[in-house]
Structures are given as structure tokens and as C-alpha cells.
Symmetry: C2
Subunit: 304 residues, 2 copies
């Protein structure tokens, strides 16, 4: 379903930026994928400078991987799917960036993930990584739920699980809540014996620092720790609800993407767990399709 | 129980700094309270510069109120009770401040609140304002619980209630949670119709911005809104637990301080609600006692 641009040897770069990392893939209409690059966090909600830097790092690494000289960047059409740009002010800030590409087409990471997951076709996706959110694109209509950012929203995400784990450990350490295996794990993780040592290390930390603790919550839940079980069950229930909400739009396919998609699966509503299909292409390819489609529409407008 | 310093006309300033405001009171051993001043937020966890600025603003206003020339600041002993300095790194940073006072004695806002509430005697206090925490001082032993900062801890506080209210409104707006009166209130408060407009305005906001919403949660709970009721009940249950934990140390008195002390009272465990006694003196007076006591101990050491 790859759209064809007027110029057959046109180069595209697809960029997928999230709270933890930024992936870039360079694609030639004639030769397919030429190279890939990986950069740091690229969620403008947590820093615009850092986001632009991560985009440039992943782009330069992808160009090097593709054997392309850096000055060719001006000939590449870029498709960017970024977390955070569902907030209009951030969308605007990134749009105003004096980027080095031939042209830049910006949308949310949800949109490009959805395009990639269903190979350009209609469908719905749930992203559960550092954050969580749901998106569907059916017959030209897109809707999204969740994705309001840490710690307001993003229930069921890695950051949410990490935050709930720390909250539980702190009340346990104060003797104000149930005992949990998470307390020992978290004390070891932060190399401290007391609650204040944990609070101090987490003060002002971004969501990605919380998300690193999510795997310990699954570990403890698998050991039948009551507190960890209730966190995982509550998070999974929200993600299942999100899936049911998306299904109201009758998407032909539903995929789950992100670091928590696999560990969460066994905790989901079985109806949803069974429905979930693997994404066909990664979000970076979705970003490439998005750029191709945008160029095509532009050319059609010019032709009219 | 006011301790007497060697020099009878000695001046003291007591400063109580929290997440929302900073209060200062100037006290003369001979003439009692001379003046008071009010400054902005002074929780170093949310900004060291801002904290020092708020301390200086409240000090200068108190001096002006007392009719003292500003250069007299060098003759005043200062007692500082600050939120956040239970974190050792923040205690150290404030201690290193090149303050303008004759001498500065630093402790937590909990400690000075406790000294004030019990007029210098033993006792326990729970602070529920922007944040929440518990402290007891009995026979030379102090313990504290909670106070780990927003959003890791501070359950039952104004900021916690505000955050829970926004979370509830966002899931309601997404059709992913129960309907609540809070949704209409919060949409009106932020002057927006959609979830993203709320999330955007709260992105990166300090705990004090969340605490402003607490009163709407009480309003909705009093109107029997299920979601608001469950927030208030959960918060009050935590505060009651905190009180029971403090009572294990057998404090002769227990007081509750802060903007939520009064509205929370009717929701507390009745045993606790009945036990709570009004604070005898405000935290600023506790900070003055603390400075006086510190000067006295210092003089005793010199005399030995």
C-alpha cells in the first residue's frame, strides 16, 4: 500500500519520538529501507531542546547507517510522529522549528503508530510504554483517548506503574499501608534504607525514570504480591477499557505497541487479549507512509 | 514557656515556609510580637531561588510592619521552619545560604509547627495543606511520617485531592470512568471543553496549582457526588491512619494544621476527630521558640 511519489528515487525519513527514545528510518522509494538510527527522549512535553536534539541525533545516525552524506538532509522529506504534540501549543512549537529537511510533516506518535501497525489501513492502536493512550483511524475519522501525560493520566503505563510502586513502598516504610515485596526491591534499586532517600532521588524526575520500575511490579505480581497484583490488575483494567472504547468505532484491526504491550497482555480482559493483532510495520514506517501521503496530497493539490 | 535569652531586648524572627506561602513574625523578648509579613511559596523542593526570595519578602514586610529599619536585619536571630528540608540535600543548601541575619537556625516546618501548636511542649501535629505529613516530638525523640512530596506521597493533602479530581475528570471526559460533578467544575475552572485543554494547562504545574482544586472536591462530596466522596474518604482515611501512627508515640497533645484541617475534620475517624486539639500558637511562633531555644543552648555551651 506504499504510496508512490512523483520522483521515484525520493528519500524519506520516518521519525518516531517518545518519552524514552527516538527512532529514525531512512527509506528510498527505489531501494526500501537504507538505514536506521536511535536517539534519546523526544517528548516535547519534557523539554523542547532535548526533543530536537534527539531527533537530530537519530537522523544523523540513520544517515550514517545509510551511507548518506550529511548535506543530503536537505533533500529528505521527513515524517515525524511525536508524543506530546496532541497538545496544540507543542504542535505549534515543533512546527515552528527551522528544521533541516526538504519538508517536514508532523503528527502524533499515535497517528504514525496506527498507520504503521495497520500498514496504512484503518485500525486502532493502544500504546503502553512510558505513557499510555489509545487511537483509532476509521474512514477518515480519528479519535484518541488518554495520553494526558504523567501523572495526570497515562494509567496502565510504565510510568504509572512505577509511581504506584513507589507510593506503595513509601506507605509501607511509614507503617501506613500493607507490606509489599516492592519495598525491598525499591530500597535496593535506590540503594537507601529510608523513605526520604527514595523521595529525594525521585524529586523532579521525568516519567521515564518511573517507567524503569514497571518490570519490578510485574515481577512482584508474578510472585503473587498483593500490592503489586492490585497495581497490575488496575492498570490492565484501564487498558482493557481503553480497548473497548476504541472498538466502539469499529476499527478492522487493533494492535498494542510499546514496552508494556507484551507483559500486560496476560492481564487484559481475555476478549481484548484475543483480539489484539501484531503491528504489521513499526511506527517509523508509519511516519514514512505519513510523509509520502502528505507529499502526494500536496502534489495533487498543485495539479488541480 | 518562652525561653529567655541572656540579652533581654533581643530580636527574633520566626519564619514558616510552605508550598503556597511564607509567613514571618518579629518578636522582641521585652515587647512581644512587633510585626508580621507574608511572602510567596517557600518550599525549596520547588525552587531554591524562589524560596529565598519569599523568605526575604516576608522578612522585609515584617520589619516594615514592626517599624524597624532594614539594616537592623543583622541584629535579628532567625528561626526557619521550611517544608522540604527533611530532604538532607535541601537542608544543606538552605544552610549554605549567605543569609543576612545575626544567626539562622533551620529546621522543618513540621518541627516548628509542633513547637508552636503545643506552646513548646511535647506533642504531635499533622499538617494537611498543599502537602500532608505527620510529626511527633515526645521526650526528646522526634519521628515523622509522610511528607514525601507531590505526587509520590502527600496523600490526603490539597494537592493530592486536586490531582485525583483532575484524573477523575479526564477519565470521565474520555468515557473511561464514572460520571462526576467534578468534570463540569474542572472544565469551567480551566475554561475548556476538552481533556487535552486541561492536561495542557496543568503540564509542569507545581503542587500549589493542584491544591487550589481541593475545595471543589469537598463541595462535590457534600453534594454526595460518588467520585468526590471516594476521594475525600480515601484522603481522610490516610490522615486518620497517620494520626493513629503518631499516637503510638504517646504524645500528650495532637493538633492538625493547614488549610485542609478544618474541612477534613468531619471525614476523619471519629476517635481522631475528637482527640484533635487546636494549636496554641502558629508555626511562626514555633520558629521563634526554636531560635530562642537554640540561642540558649549555644550560650549554655559557651558557659560550660
Amino acid at each position: 500500500m506504499m504510496a508512490k511519489s512523483a520522483n521515484e528515487d525520493q528519500l524519506f525519513i520516518g521519525i518516531d519520538g517518545g518519552g524514552t527514545k527516538c527512532r529514525a528510518t531512512i527509506y528510498s522509494v527505489q531501494h526500501g529501507v537504507l538505514g536506521t538510527g536511535l536517539g534519546g527522549p523526544a517528548n516535547p512535553l519534557h523539554g523542547l531542546e532535548r526533543t530536537l536534539e534527539s531527533i537530530m541525533v537519530s537522523t544523523q545516525l540513520a544517515m550514517r547507517d545509510a551511507g548518506l552524506p550529511l548535506e543530503n538532509i536537505h533533500q529528505i522529506y521527513a515524517g515525524l510522529g511525536l508524543a506530546g504534540v496532541n497538545l496544540p501549543s507543542l504542535y505549534e512549537k515543533i512546527s515552528e522549528w527551522e528544521h533541516p529537511f526538504k519538508q517536514m510533516f508532523l503528527t502524533t506518535d499515535l497517528h504514525t503508530a496506527c498507520i504503521g501497525a495497520h500498514d496504512g489501513g484503518d485500525g486502532a492502536v493502544i500504546i503502553t510504554g512510558t505513557g499510555s493512550c489509545g487511537f483509532s483511524y476509521v474512514q477518515g475519522q480519528s479519535v484518541n483517548y488518554g495520553g494526558h501525560g504523567f501523572a495526570l493520566g497515562d494509567k496502565g503505563s510504565g510510568a504509572w506503574m512505577g509511581l504506584e510502586a513507589i507510593k506503595a513502598a513509601l506507605v509501607d516504610l511509614d507503617g501506613l499501608g500493607p507490606k509489599t515485596l516492592l519495598t525491598a526491591t525499591i530500597k535496593e534499586y535506590f540503594n537507601t534504607e529510608n523513605a526520604m532517600g527514595i523521595a529525594e532521588q525521585m524529586a523532579g524526575q521525568p516519567s521515564s525514570s518511573y517507567a524503569k520500575l514497571a518490570r519490578y511490579v510485574f515481577d512482584a505480581a508474578n510472585q503473587k504480591d498483593e500490592v503489586a497484583l492490585s497495581i497490575v490488575i488496575e492498570g490492565a483494567a484501564y487498558v482493557s477499557q481503553l480497548a473497548h472504547r476504541l472498538l466502539e468505532n469499529n476499527p478492522p484491526r487493533l494492535s498494542m505497541i510499546g514496552g508494556l504491550a507484551e507483559p500486560l497482555n496476560q492481564w487484559l480482559d481475555p476478549v481484548i487479549a484475543k483480539l489484539v493483532e501484531a503491528p504489521i510495520q513499526p511506527p517509523e514506517m508509519g511516519a514514512i507512509y505519513f510523509a509520502q501521503q502528505s507529499v502526494l496530497e500536496q502534489n495533487q493539490k498543485v495539479a488541480l
